[in-house]
């Protein structure tokens, strides 16, 4: 998705991937308890088309540090403005994939929870289909689940998490396939979900796997974000 957006925004001075990486690094620092108290609007600014695109890619993770009450001041008006702009720029259309709708929904729900303005000032969370959770064969199912890794946080998307839990074994298979393919982002996303769902088969060696993914991903900021979430919220990954 990031690559497609980068093309849409043209070959500007700063590539979208760099904006995403910068914002992801800011979230990682906040999740680790390092750096200044987190404020989204310091990383992604209102009126910047790339900021909206980056927020679409990071989704709910852009607000993850606000879930750590001791590490962030509550979101302010500037933060709310950036998020509102992104939500307005990328509303899921009638042809949107279920993954896109779930991702959008996650950002809307997080905005209700952590940003000022009250529910009336935010879009309604759209209904997101979940037939794929029960119907997709494990390779496609696990790939889709990894794309929703930003929802693997305590207390959100609990319905989805409940429906994913019976397919933990399939997510474990997806983790293996992703590592084998050196798709570190997918591996980290699946590892994060496995950390959230619990009941991971002990023989998977999830903790060693997450350490391995961190080592092999060579500092990729989005991978680091998933791994930081798995460690901060679920204590997995060493």
């Amino acid at each position: 998705m990031a690559d497609a957006l980068a093309e849409q925004t043209g070959a500007g001075a700063v590539p979208l991937s760099a904006v995403i990486a910068d914002a992801a690094n800011g979230v990682v620092l906040a999740l680790r308890g390092e750096g200044d108290p987190y404020a989204l609007s310091r990383l992604l600014r209102q009126g910047d088309a790339l900021a909206s695109a980056a927020l679409r890619v990071l989704g709910r993770d852009a607000l993850a540090p606000y879930a750590l009450d001791h590490r962030a001041t509550p979101g302010g008006a500037d933060d709310a403005a950036v998020v509102r702009e992104a939500l307005a720029a990328y509303p899921p259309g009638p042809d949107a994939s279920e993954v896109s709708v779930w991702s959008y929904r996650g950002l809307v729900e997080a905005s209700h929870a952590f940003l000022p303005g009250g529910a009336d000032h935010w879009p309604q969370a759209p209904r997101a289909g979940s037939a794929w959770v029960t119907d997709d064969p494990w390779p496609r199912f696990s790939h889709r689940t990894s794309q929703l890794a930003a929802l693997a946080l305590p207390g959100i998307a609990t319905d989805l998490a409940g429906r994913l839990a019976p397919r933990t074994d399939d997510l474990a298979r997806g983790f293996i396939r992703a590592v084998r393919r050196r798709d570190w982002l997918q591996a980290a996303g699946l590892g994060r979900w496995l950390a959230r769902l619990g009941q991971v088969p002990p023989t998977l060696g999830l903790d060693n796997g997450l350490v391995f993914v961190r080592h092999m991903s060579d500092g990729d900021a989005r991978v680091a974000l998933h791994l930081a979430a798995a460690r901060q919220f679920y204590g997995r990954g060493g």
Binding site: T134, D135, D136, P137, W138, P139, F141, P166, R167, D169, D170, A172, R173, G174, F175, I176, R177, V179, R180, R181, P201, T203, L204, G205, N208, G209, F212
Partner: protein
């Protein structure tokens, strides 16, 4: 919970093996040891190995009872050819044992023929002389091959010198390591350990329950990956492992891809498509994946007709 895919049809499974056996029979002269091969120990071993694998294949075909009458006749002729023509009634093995008195290779080849009713008393006494030594059980070899040696001893009616369970615990699979660490060579270690645990698929319940559960959980990930990589030799071996599980998947989509990779002649490519080269060169590359295809087919047809899914 998992989403179970459809099982492959017995006709598709059977066709792969039928075509593979036809190709092996059509190319049987290429199994023969040349004078050059006989010149070195390595040369002999390199040629004996395929003959041993061919005999395993034919034994599986007879044992599982899945061959049609035409295929059965062809397999019987090929087996006689292997023993009489290729091994000179076992004399080739006995000669090798004379050169390498403490090698387990002749026994590993001979054991399948022994099970099928062929005998060479001279070889048996030569093997027994080697087996009496401490060297026999101290020979260094990879752990899954040690299982194969113990199996060969059992098949020829000998009491193994080593404990099978202890040998299992020394294999990669016996340790149930992280499944995402599996690479090409580890995958072959896995398949061979399963072949020996089950005596080439004869006893699926020979896989200890913890290993069977581990394989049921993770084997689909490896199968999917090596199917995508079009590594047909390894995929075929992994498909055999599937047939050895208590509830084989016999995944139709994977088997259809495997069948589509097979050449019209019956040869199964090693990796991607068929290689270039003269007939001997092509044989050297594709005889193994083609034998694996025959093995996988026989096992899958048998399990498709009997197993609980």
């Amino acid at each position: 919970m998992t989403v179970t895919s459809a099982a492959a049809s017995p006709a598709l499974l059977h066709g792969i093996g039928d075509r593979a056996l036809t190709w092996l029979d059509d190319h049987r002269e290429h199994f023969r040891l040349t004078p050059e091969d006989r010149g070195t120990t390595r040369g002999v071993i390199e040629r004996l190995k395929p003959i041993g694998e061919l005999s395993v294949n034919l034994r599986v075909l007879f044992r599982e009872g899945v061959a049609g009458s035409h295929q059965h006749t062809r397999a019987g002729r090929l087996l006689d050819f292997a023993w009489r023509e290729l091994l000179d009634g076992g004399s080739v093995l006995a000669a090798f044992q004379h050169e390498e008195p403490f090698s387990s290779v002749p026994l590993e080849i001979y054991s399948t023929f022994h099970e099928l009713g062929f005998r060479h008393p001279g070889l048996e006494s030569a093997v027994e002389a080697g087996r009496r030594t401490l060297t026999w059980s101290a020979l260094e070899m990879v752990p899954n091959r040690r299982l194969g040696v113990i199996n060969s001893e059992r098949q020829t009616g000998l009491v193994p010198r080593e404990d099978f369970d202890r040998a299992v615990s020394r294999t990669w699979l016996g340790g149930l390591p992280e499944p995402w660490t599996v690479q090409y060579h580890i995958a072959y270690d896995i398949t061979h350990t399963v072949f020996h645990l089950t005596n080439w698929g004869e006893k699926p319940d020979g896989i200890p329950p913890d290993i069977a559960s581990y394989l049921a959980l993770y084997l689909p990930a490896w199968i999917e990956d090596w199917a995508d990589l079009e590594h047909w030799d390894l995929l075929g071996e992994l498909l055999v492992v599937d047939t050895c599980l208590p509830r084989p998947a016999l995944d139709a989509e994977i088997w259809e891809r495997y069948a589509a990779a097979q050449c019209d002649s019956g040869a199964m490519p090693l990796h991607h498509g068929m290689p270039d080269g003269d007939a001997a060169e092509v044989f050297d590359i594709v005889h193994h994946p083609t034998m694996v295809a025959a093995f996988a087919s026989a096992m899958a047809v048998s399990r498709a007709m009997s197993a609980t899914r």
